[in-house]
Symmetry: C2
Subunit: 683 residues, 2 copies
């Protein structure tokens, strides 16, 4: 499912994004809990005597969660803690009081609430379920702080529960395959920010990624050998369950199904043969909804999958079938005429109705993308909206449950701030409280055209933590600078779970440069980003088999450096006519751009893979020089020559062109500098 | 097996270690091939048309190897190459002419030779076996070069084969468990430097790491749940075979066997009960060699393992059994008296003789550590020497095959240069050619007291590549500066295989510092190393359950920065009385030490885990100041005050003390500076 008419949010959100040094120290919790009360006189030491006891319910899942908690605590503090649980008494630093196991299979109706109370004597974590306790343990790990007296948990009282019960991350493993290792570390990261649904997008035109024992040709011929065995699927489901995470599989039909047809062309609406699709995009192959054999096949296959995946829900996709194969197939046309099916929408609705019965037979609730919403659809179907909150509200008014992904398309390389303001139930919502309950939550979507195991973490994290907060925290939590402050802390903590979103970048740069001296390239990539939305393929086409090892792949979304640069420029300009604040830092950065650009030239000559960024290196130098000129005029308080504004803005504009599917994200700030300098002494 | 009387090599080898800039460009091959001829007019372009064809024998293993080769070529060049094999014709850039499959199961008698011939028209890789072809493909990847005209293979003729047939890496997965992922990426790295034996040290006092279906209590009670299933073992063996690597399992008995006895105390020489050992060291528990049930058990267990592991050899350890349990057991003493077994050595020899028969019954050749060599031992046993080349030569003279690990103990944190000069057949060897054939090769040993999946790569790589070269390349290849030059290149290439030896360091520093600002700590750790040999545990005791996330774990062996510093100091001193060469660089470094030390103080206050390095930070500043003083005196050509030498040397000496199991490795160079300055004008 891809957004076709992407709603371009033009509201620029690069406001004050760096916490001022003089502010009081703050907690680094993400998502922010529903309620936090400070007990400033209290703090609980975390030293070599730190131990954990359970009270009330205890089981293997809780104990495994406590074990992981203690290992991470040890990892950060380098303390060797006593193994095993302590007795429940007044000297045990942390008591976990869990009232029951919760649902056996993670469920959308799980109670995830918890309470934390920390005094100097003891910390108490209380939860009605094991999943609630696991959520609380993650909060505790985020609370860990330190000063010269040692590590400690600050004195707080936290009462917490999620705003929405469905908080997901979709991982598309079809366009590019992701290893079990990748999935596991991302499940760990999801748990760290309290996401609770892994939406496993298992089939696509470009790959069929799950073993079917009933129809082995599906994975044997549809996957290039890159699929999950059923044992591995069970392993992932168990791993997710241990962390209170549901696993919702998606089998996208009737469109997006080329890989199914490689082994089973008889299911298609055209005779075939079919081969695995290697390009990105929307393709014609679709299952034939008019033949009984297709339903018989789906009954058997989905029955097999329904038994493999214990979650209540099964996602059937249903998106972006343009029906071109249907239009061209006389038998399908004949069938529609005979049955009085007036168009392809109605035909797909017919298909979905049949599919729904199959899923119900196998005990599953159906979920699908917006397109499945048709008048005759029963109310126990969930709508997954890529179209937006209006579509979601409309469905809710009709009585359908729904989840939002519009605004959470992390593959589009937008900043976290933009995702952060997308709300499944926006402030102006006209839904009644009863209707609003149908809005279950949302999912970040990691579509995988341009990610590999080497890069996927950096496309998911840390931005998805901001989405996780939107879905968990109260609606009133919406301070973007504070979000970025906390995101930076959480991003580092995710590294302890094995996430590679930070550490792989320098490795990729070393490979490109072919030695250790990556400084100049690092400077360049710190102020550029991959082009947004779906422009990458347009300007730099590759296939699903291409190496994703270029500069565009090593460059991160949502540049911290650019955000800081833009913020310093604003502070500097607000400091006029003195123009002192951050001037030294800005000049240093701009000078570094110029020296880095000079160093890049011979590096590009030695590394042909860097050739595509040669114009960017030149523009980096140009932007540095222009910025320095502007600052210099502002500092002197002297107007530049008349033509300077125009030529300088033209240079900056010229530098805004993308090369290698990369673009500068400091253009706006530089234009502000130029315009301010050009206005000097002319007001 | 641990070296008890470690032979301290005092020969300082920090000679000229950085290639001079004015030298002609050199190939970056490691190990250096047996023969390389340059064809300077020739070079083969690697562009989007690059393709591979096979000639002669082809099979799935070869094709998988070619596929991996092409993926890595694409990864480095960011080129999308046509998938699949090309036709064998004159326009195909690379022809792989393989004459046969080689051994079905990787074998010590495999022919690993290959020939490469590169002209402007075509590259030809010829090999008698698939394994030879795989070795040649790794050489090709190391040959890849680039300039502004693009990527290319230089014109060379290479004729290559290994000096020794047994070139191994021992990975101890018992003291700390290592995941399948860790093993696979290390197998990839081994293949990259032409190592061909994974010695899998599976059992120890601290853990029993392989599933036994015959005796499940072994892994169930002996592993904390951290063991390999037999399916995973098969997966690793298949993965290794794909890369032409043998897998030799080790089951270390009769000593080092505490973890066996947790589930099977009846095998022990004392009644038990036993618990998994958590400390490092040598422990008393040992199998009882006097009871028939023990041999019956071993027959069944080793029979199961012999079927699981297809390699010709099975390693039975046999080391470091001090026999204390035997001494105290009256039944054992009685048995010895009755049988005329005069001491524990003889008893262990008796045990080994029985063991040998069991292994022979199951079709395996026995290999064990030095201790197994007893007069009555048959000649078809392989001696694995931790004692040294003399022991190995002695065994060879008696007709025993042997391999060397003395000198290759990479857990001792010695520099690569020291391992590099250890030769299984040293220059002065008195063995006849026939006897010398008994010296099969050697193995680097990654004993795992102080490594986890997060750090193990940095303890193995890149130093093990130097050992790999010693075991493959001609004896005459022994230029240490050139080794280091190539090692730096190979180290970067290993990263593309997923190795984390470089990328994990900054993550670990970020975790310790608790934010992104790791610069000052990075400066400190660049000039310190973990203490050598077995001193870490003595000065900073931990258990096998402790977190290995401290500064000592984040600090790398064989500091590049220290080596470069020492080299610059020598060049600077040799440049006297001018004292110009590298003076600016040295002063910059020494100044950086002082500013970094100042920045570290508040960081240590915020991060209690850093407290243990506080004295190192102070000493870093002191060393920086002393170095600058010395340079200043030398530059001025004026003698310092009389007492200056003594007080300065005392300061430097004071700074040589280890803290946090870390020590400065620039002490020698600083003393040289001080002494030279003190001598100024006094000659």
């Amino acid at each position: 499912m891809k957004i076709k008419n992407y709603f371009a949010i033009t509201l620029v959100l690069i406001c004050a994004v760096v916490a001022k040094a003089q502010e009081a120290p703050k907690l680094n919790l993400m998502p922010v809990p529903a309620s936090v009360k400070f007990q400033p006189q209290e703090r609980l030491a975390v030293d070599a005597n730190f131990r954990v006891a359970t009270r009330g319910h205890s089981d293997a899942r809780l104990q495994a969660g406590i074990f992981r908690f203690v290992r991470r605590l040890e990892g950060r503090t380098v303390l060797t803690l006593a193994p095993g649980l302590a007795p429940d008494d007044q000297t045990t630093p942390l008591i976990i009081n869990c009232q029951g196991p919760g649902k056996d299979i993670p469920s959308v109706s799980e109670n995830e609430s918890y309470r934390i109370d920390i005094t100097r004597r003891q910390a108490m974590l209380t939860a009605p379920t094991v999943v609630g306790a696991l959520r609380g343990l993650e909060t505790l790990l985020q609370l860990l702080d330190a000063d010269r007296n040692g590590y400690f948990f600050p004195g707080v009282q936290i009462d917490d529960q999620p705003r929405f019960p469905w908080r997901g991350l979709l991982i598309d493993v079809a366009r590019h395959f992701e290893t079990i290792e990748v999935l596991k570390r991302n499940l760990d990261a999801m748990a760290a920010v309290k996401l609770n649904v892994l939406h496993w997008h298992l089939t696509e035109d470009q790959g069929f990624r799950v073993e079917s024992k009933k129809f082995p040709k599906l994975h044997q011929l549809g996957s290039d050998g890159n699929y999950y065995t059923q044992e591995q699927v069970k392993d992932i489901i168990a791993y997710a369950r241990e962390r209170g995470i549901r696993v919702v599989p998606e089998f996208d039909i009737p469109g997006h199904s080329t890989s199914w047809l490689v082994g089973h062309p008889e299911l298609g609406s055209a005779p075939g043969p079919y081969t695995i699709e290697r390009r990105p995009g929307i393709f014609e192959p679709a299952l034939d909804p008019t033949r009984e054999e297709v339903y018989k096949f789906l009954d058997t296959f989905l029955g097999e999958m329904a038994a493999l995946f214990p979650d209540d829900y099964l996602h059937i996709g249903g998106d972006e079938n343009e029906g071109k194969q249907w239009d061209r197939n006389p038998a399908i046309q004949e069938y529609m005429k005979k049955k009085g099916i007036k168009d392809n929408h109605a035909l797909q609705a017919y298909f979905n109705t049949r599919l729904l019965k199959i899923l119900q037979k196998h005990g599953k609730k159906m979920i699908g993308w917006d397109e499945i919403l048709q008048p005759e659809l029963p109310k126990d179907v969930v709508i997954h909206s890529w179209r937006g909150t209006a579509a979601l509200a409309e469905a809710a008014k009709k009585g359908y449950d729904g989840i939002l992904s519009n605004g959470y398309y992390i593959d589009l390389i937008q900043p976290a701030s933009q995702h952060y303001i997308s709300d499944p139930l926006p402030a102006g919502s006209t839904l009644t409280p009863e209707e609003a309950k149908h809005v279950l939550g949302g999912e970040a979507t990691m579509w995988a055209e341009w990610v590999t195991p080497e890069t996927i973490d950096s496309r998911i994290w840390p931005r998805t933590a901001a989405i996780a907060e939107r879905l968990w925290s109260p609606q009133s939590v919406n301070d973007i600078p504070d979000m970025y402050r906390r995101l930076a802390v959480i991003s580092l903590q995710l590294e302890e779970l094995g996430l590679t979103h930070k550490r792989n970048q320098e490795m990729m740069l070393r490979r490109l440069v072919r030695n250790e001296d990556i400084g100049p390239l690092r400077t360049l990539v710190s102020v550029i980003e991959p082009v947004k939305e779906y422009r990458r393929y347009q300007v730099r086409p590759q296939t699903m088999l291409s190496p994703l090892t270029g500069v565009v792949d090593a460059t991160l979304p949502d540049s911290d450096t650019a955000r800081r640069f833009s913020w310093m420029v604003r502070e500097f300009l607000n400091d006029g006519p003195r123009y002192q604040l951050y001037r030294a830092e800005l000049n240093e950065m701009l000078a570094d751009w110029q020296t880095s650009a000079a160093s890049l030239a011979p590096m590009i000559d030695r590394s042909p893979a860097l050739k595509e960024i040669k114009p960017l290196a030149q523009n980096l130098s140009q932007l540095g020089a222009t910025g320095q000129e502007a600052i210099s005029y502002l500092k002197l308080g002297m107007p530049p020559p008349r033509e300077w504004r125009e030529t300088s803005l033209a240079k900056v504009e010229e530098a805004s062109k993308p090369y290698g599917a990369l673009e500068f994200v400091v253009i706006g700030a530089l234009k502000q500098l130029v315009n301010a300098a050009a206005d000097t002494g002319r007001k």
